[in-house]
């Protein structure tokens, strides 16, 4: 995890505060980020049962403006941005011409001529270059990451904790919708989105106000059981919720259909980058498919471990580890479609030994609303 050479790690505006809170810091995609504060298990539990506050300012923002903005978004992404209402967000994929993932992202429609894309930190610059290279319609493309900090407040009590800080009524904001409003006097984009499987908000604002917002929310949240959470819990939470992570379930070799993300791939919306390859794939049939598994003994199938079907290697674990809330060891893996049915018994190669596992439906965890 530690690389000695290479460029210095990037830091968010909250770096010093994380250090002050005693966070264990790690290199994540070129950013020095908090892995954990009090511990992954307690942070995970806080988000499932109360609330957690995450600094996700490493995430990238790309803004697209102009009369042709929608055309460009529709060309480079696979979901149907055209159906978005102002104030609505959409999970989508940034496609290569082979119909594979250059990244996954959230598309926010700010106006008919203005879209904000939230992309993965490590892909930000490459995504921007790609979009610019595909921009045949003179839309304005801005790599806006440095203009934003982003906090995620997640968990069943997130709304309760956030509400006193904003005149915006949070309750009417529907899932995957957003509004502009002030939080603690700071102008924010407040989106009801998240990467944890819980209710919550992701707020985007000028980095200058990072300390103020972080400290206010942390203080106000304390009586509600809110604690600061790091990328460790973010990963166990999203895995439990069956969400894909770029570089694990999805990358430049995987398509939305293989990843179980056919629902974000709208082949009937008209041509887009990669759509021809995706049509071919649908016609030819999939050669592999993402599946969830749970371990049947106490061993842990981890990222990169082989998946064995009838004793033969049939795939690899893309993400695997403990599911702290479900108290099981779970994971996701690519397997041949013929062997991907729920209930199928497989084995995970755990350091040279075959450990029994069973394929289960995704997501592993779904909150009760």
């Amino acid at each position: 995890m530690l690389s000695s050479a290479a460029a210095p790690l990037r830091k968010t505006a909250l770096h010093a505060l994380h250090r002050g809170l005693g966070a264990k810091m790690v290199n994540f995609g070129g950013w020095e980020m908090p892995l954990e504060y009090s511990g992954i298990l307690s942070e995970h539990e806080a988000v499932r049962t109360r609330a957690g506050l995450f600094d996700v300012s490493h995430m990238g923002e790309i803004e697209i403006r102009g009369p042709q903005a929608l055309d460009l978004v529709e060309w480079v992404t696979c979901n149907r941005a055209a159906k978005l209402a102002v104030g609505q967000a959409l999970y989508s994929g940034l496609m290569t011409e082979r119909g594979t993932f250059l990244d996954d992202l959230l598309v926010h429609k700010i106006s008919d001529t203005h879209y904000l894309l939230c992309v993965n930190a490590s892909n930000q610059d490459r995504d921007f270059d790609h979009i610019v290279s595909q921009n045949k319609c003179e839309a304005e493309v801005e790599n806006a990451g440095p203009r934003y900090s982003q906090l995620a407040i997640q968990g069943p009590r997130a709304k309760q904790i956030l509400q006193p800080f904003t005149p915006v009524a949070l309750d009417p904001i529907r899932y995957y919708h957003f509004v502009f409003g002030k939080v603690a006097g700071v102008a924010c984009l407040i989106a009801r989105t998240g990467y944890t499987g819980e209710d919550g908000f992701e707020i985007y604002f000028d980095p200058e106000f990072s300390d103020r917002l972080w400290n206010k929310l942390l203080q106000a949240g304390e009586p509600f059981g809110l604690i600061p959470c790091g990328l460790g819990a973010r990963n166990t939470l999203r895995l439990e919720a069956g969400m894909c992570l770029y570089g694990h379930e999805i990358d430049e070799t995987t398509t939305p259909f293989e990843a179980g993300l056919g629902w974000i791939c709208k082949l009937d919306k008209g041509r887009f980058l990669g759509s021809a390859s995706l049509v071919e794939q649908v016609q030819a049939g999939l050669r592999r498919q993402l599946a969830g598994f749970e371990m049947l003994d106490r061993r842990i199938g981890r990222d990169g471990y082989p998946v064995l079907i009838a004793g033969q290697q049939a795939g690899r674990v893309t993400s695997g580890g403990p599911a702290p809330f479900l108290k099981k060891n779970i994971g996701m893996a690519y397997v041949p479609p013929a062997s991907s049915s729920v209930g199928a018994e497989v084995e995970i190669g755990v350091r040279g030994q075959a450990a029994p596992a069973r394929l289960v439906a995704l997501p592993f965890y779904k909150r009760t609303r």
Binding site: L2, G39, I40, G232, R302
Partner: protein, 132 residues
Amino acid sequence: MYPSDYRYTKDHEWIKVEGSTGTVGITDYAQHELGDVVFVELPRVGAQLKSGESFGTVESVKAVSEIFTPVSGEITEINSALVDSPEKLNLDPHGSAWLVKIRLSDPQEVAHLMDTAAYQAYIAGQAKEHSA
């Protein structure tokens, strides 16, 4: 924090020798680096090990860490309570969360291990490397 009658390895195991038996565990530094421990795999009683050989694994949410025996000998006892309560390793790594007991085949090997002062200096150096 680090008991003065223990000896330590560069891989962050400790051993407490009483007569011809050593009790082995992982250090507080190791448990802190690992984070929440969720799984411990220990050898069978009777296993014969050479010093430096891997005899089990400790897994946290994020990582798998092999454990290496500081000395050669035969495993005489394992702390099976850890199998059901691996989190004890985060709470009491130098005490009740010991891993195995081993009958030393060559008590001279202990002399090659770090004493408490040397180990503390060693982890201070590691911490510095991390924050650099």
